[in-house]
Symmetry: C2
Amino acid sequence: MNTFPKETYIERRNRLKQKMGSGILLFLGNEESSSNFKDNWYPFRQDSSFLYFFGLDMPGLAAIIDIDQGQEIIFGDNLTTVEVIWQGAHPPLSELAESVGIKTTHPKNELPKFLEKAGNQQIHFLPPYRPENSQKLAEWLHLSIQEIPSRVSVPLIKAVVALRSIKSEEEIREINKAVNISVSMHKKAMHEAKPGMKEYQLLGLVIGEALAQGGHLSFAPIITINGQILHNHNYSNTLTPGKMVLGDFGAESAMRYAGDITRTFPVGPEFSPVQKEIYQIVFHAYQTAVAALKPGIRFKDVHLLACKKLAEGLKDLGLMKGNLDDAVSQGAHALFFQCGLGHMMGLDVHDMEDLGEEYVGYTEELKKSKEFGLRSLRLGKELEAGYVITIEPGIYFIPQLIDQWQAENLHSEFINYDKLAEYRNFGGIRVEDGYLITESGSKILGDPLEIEISDVERIRGK
Amino acid sequence: MNTFPKETYIERRNRLKQKMGSGILLFLGNEESSSNFKDNWYPFRQDSSFLYFFGLDMPGLAAIIDIDQGQEIIFGDNLTTVEVIWQGAHPPLSELAESVGIKTTHPKNELPKFLEKAGNQQIHFLPPYRPENSQKLAEWLHLSIQEIPSRVSVPLIKAVVALRSIKSEEEIREINKAVNISVSMHKKAMHEAKPGMKEYQLLGLVIGEALAQGGHLSFAPIITINGQILHNHNYSNTLTPGKMVLGDFGAESAMRYAGDITRTFPVGPEFSPVQKEIYQIVFHAYQTAVAALKPGIRFKDVHLLACKKLAEGLKDLGLMKGNLDDAVSQGAHALFFQCGLGHMMGLDVHDMEDLGEEYVGYTEELKKSKEFGLRSLRLGKELEAGYVITIEPGIYFIPQLIDQWQAENLHSEFINYDKLAEYRNFGGIRVEDGYLITESGSKILGDPLEIEISDVERIRGK
C-alpha cells in the first residue's frame, strides 16, 4: 500500500489532538460502492480525511482517536481464510496499522460497543456524504438519519480544515505527480484530437493515459465542443472544424492527491480570429490572477480582479460597456463568467468539499455571497502559504442565460445585447492550472503545459 | 437518449402486468453515487430492471405501475432554470417518458403521497442494493431499513426474472455490440502487452478502448499475471517473461448491455510447454461445455461435464488420480477449479444478480449446493432458448488452498499432492466467451476472438 512514513500520520494526529483537546474523534472510512448489483463495485475511493490521518486505502475501516484515554484504534477485519483463497494473501490489519503508527486494532463489530462505553465523552465526527456512512452513524449513536447533519462536530471540521489546508512538502510532491499525469493526459488530447472524432474517443485516450501512468481520475472529465455547458458529462458529439474542444480533467496520484487542468484548443489547426480574441481575454485574466497570488490576499479579491480583466476585454470587443468597476461590483460580468475563479486542491479535487465551503473557503468574517456568480466561488478567504489552489477563468456564452437576462433587461447599462447576438453560438473557453501559494507569491504545479495561443496552435499542427 | 422503440417497453410492461395480475409495482431508479465528496460522482449507472421496463438512463427517477387502476407513472423532476444554465437544455421529462410509452409524469416529491393512497393495495418492489434506495423505501413505506429485505416481493422478482431471462432479438443485437467492443479491448491487450509493462498500463489501454468505442465497462477489469487470484483488482505488477496475463474484462454497450470475455496469453511470444498443457485442458473443457449447450440441459450438468474434462486432463498430467466420476461428485476437482462455469449475462454482467441467485440460477426443485466449488456456481437450472450465458472454465493453482487441503489430507485418493508441488507457482488460466442458447444448441456472441494456442501465439508475435 502507498503510504507516507508512519511519522507523518503520527504527527498529523498529534496536531489534531492538540487542536481538539478532548473527546473521542470518530473517523469513518468508505465502503465499496455498488453500481448495478451489490458486488459490481465502482473503483474504491477511500475517504480523504481518513487517508490524511490514517493512510490506509482499503474499504471497511473506521478509526477512533480517544484523546481522553490516549488511545488510537483502527477497527476492521482481516481477510477470512475463504477470502484469502479468492483475493490472495494480504498483510494483517495489525501490520498495516503499524505502518501508519497505530498500535491497536479491533474487529469492526466492536466499534459500536466502544462507542457505548464512551459515556459522557463527546463523540466528534465529520459530515458523512455517503448514505451507508450516515446509516452507520445513526445506528451506532442511536440517532435518526435526519438528525446526523445537526450532530456533526464543527470543532472537528475546523481542526481538520486547518490541518489539511496547509500542504506539506511531501504532499506537494504527490500533488505534482498528479498534475504531471494530468499534463500527460492533456498533451494526449491536444496531440490526438482530429476532426471527425467523437468526444468519447478523446475521453478514452485521456482516461487510458491516466491509468497507464498508474493514476486514477480525480473527477469525471469534461471533454466537449460545448464549453459553455459548465457541467457537461456528455461525450457524444463529433469534433467539427471551426469548433473548439474544452477539456477539463485531471488525474489522481497513486496516493490519491488530485490534479485538475483545463485547456481549450481548436478542432482544426488554428483558432478563428474571434476565438483568438476571446481566448486572449481569458488568458489575460488568468495571468492577472496568477500575478496577484500571495499570502494575505483574499481569493475573493483575486476573483474580482480576474472578473474586471475579463470585463475590460469584453468592453474592448463591444460586448460590455460603462463603468467596469460598477459592472463587476454589480455582477454584470457574470453573464459571461458565471462561476468561481478557483478552489482548493489536495486529497480532493475540490479539497475538503465534504467538510463544507463555509469552513474551507470562508470565515466567520467573510461569508459567501448569495449573488449570481459569486455564489459559485468556492474559495473567498485570505490565502496562506501552503495552500494549493486552481486558477480557472473562462468566458461562456450560454444562450439560455443570455435570453433570460435580456428578457429581464438585466444590467443593460453594462451589456450590449445587440452585439452579443453575434456571439450567441460561440461556445466557451476556459484555461486552468494549479498553484501553490508560497511565502513570496505562488508557484505553478507540475510540468509545463502549453497555454498560449501560438503554442497550442503549434501542437495542433498549424 | 438511447432507447428501444416505445413499443418494446409497452410490451414488456404489459407482459409484466399479466404475470402479476394486481397490485402496485414500484421501481426505483438509481441516483448519482458519490466518491470522495457529495458532488464528485462515479459514472452514473441506472438500475437494470428500471432500464428494462422504462428505458430512461438518467438519475433521480422512480416509476409506478398500478395494475389495479391501470396507471403507469414516472416520477421525476425537470431541470430547473438554474440547472439548464449549468447543464444545458434537456427534453422535458414528459417527452422522455412518452418516448418509452409512458403518458403520465409527476414530480418526484409526489411519490410518497401516491404510495400513502395505495390503501390495501399490495406494493411490490425489488430488493434494493444501494443504501439510499433502502432508505427511500423505508421512509416511504414506514418501515425500518432492517425490515426492507423481508418485504421485497418474491412474485415481482420471479416475474421480472422470467421476462429478463429470455433475450429478444433487439437485446441480442445490443449484447453483440457489447461483446464486439469487448473483443476489441482484448485484441488491444493481446497486441500491445510487452514484457516490462505494468498491469495498469494494459488496464489503461483496454479501458481507453472501451470508452473510445462509445462503451463503458461492464465490471472492474481483471488484468493480472496472477491469474490464480480469482478476485484480483490489483494492477501493480510488472509483466515478466515466463508469466501469463489473464485478462477478464468486458464492455457495456451504450444501452447498458454487457460483454464479458476472458483470455490468458503469454507475456513472451509463446506459452511454455507446461503452460500449453494446462491451457489445452482448460480449452478442451471449454469446448466440451459449449458442445453440450442446448435448451433443456441443466447448466449444473454442463458445469460438471466441464469439471470432469478438467479432471481428465489433470489426471493425464498426474495431478489427479482415481475414479474421476467419484472425484467430481465428491468435489475433488474444486482444488483446481474453485468457481462456477458461467452465469447469465444481459443488462448486468451477472444478469439480475441483485434479484437473487435462488431465482435467477436455481428453482424450487434445484437448490444451490453448499459444497465448495458448486456453491460458487451462479447458474444451475435448465437452459432455455433465449438465455445468454458465459462459459468460463479455468485451472487455478492457489498456494493457500493447496496448503489447506494438503494439511487436512483432503481428497487424497484423487489428488497427487507430491506432483502438485511442481505446479504450486504456476498461476492460473481461464478462457471465457458469451453464448446465446438457441432452439437447436448455442451460438457464440460477437466477433471471433483468438482462443486456440497457435492463434494466440501468432498475435503475440511468435
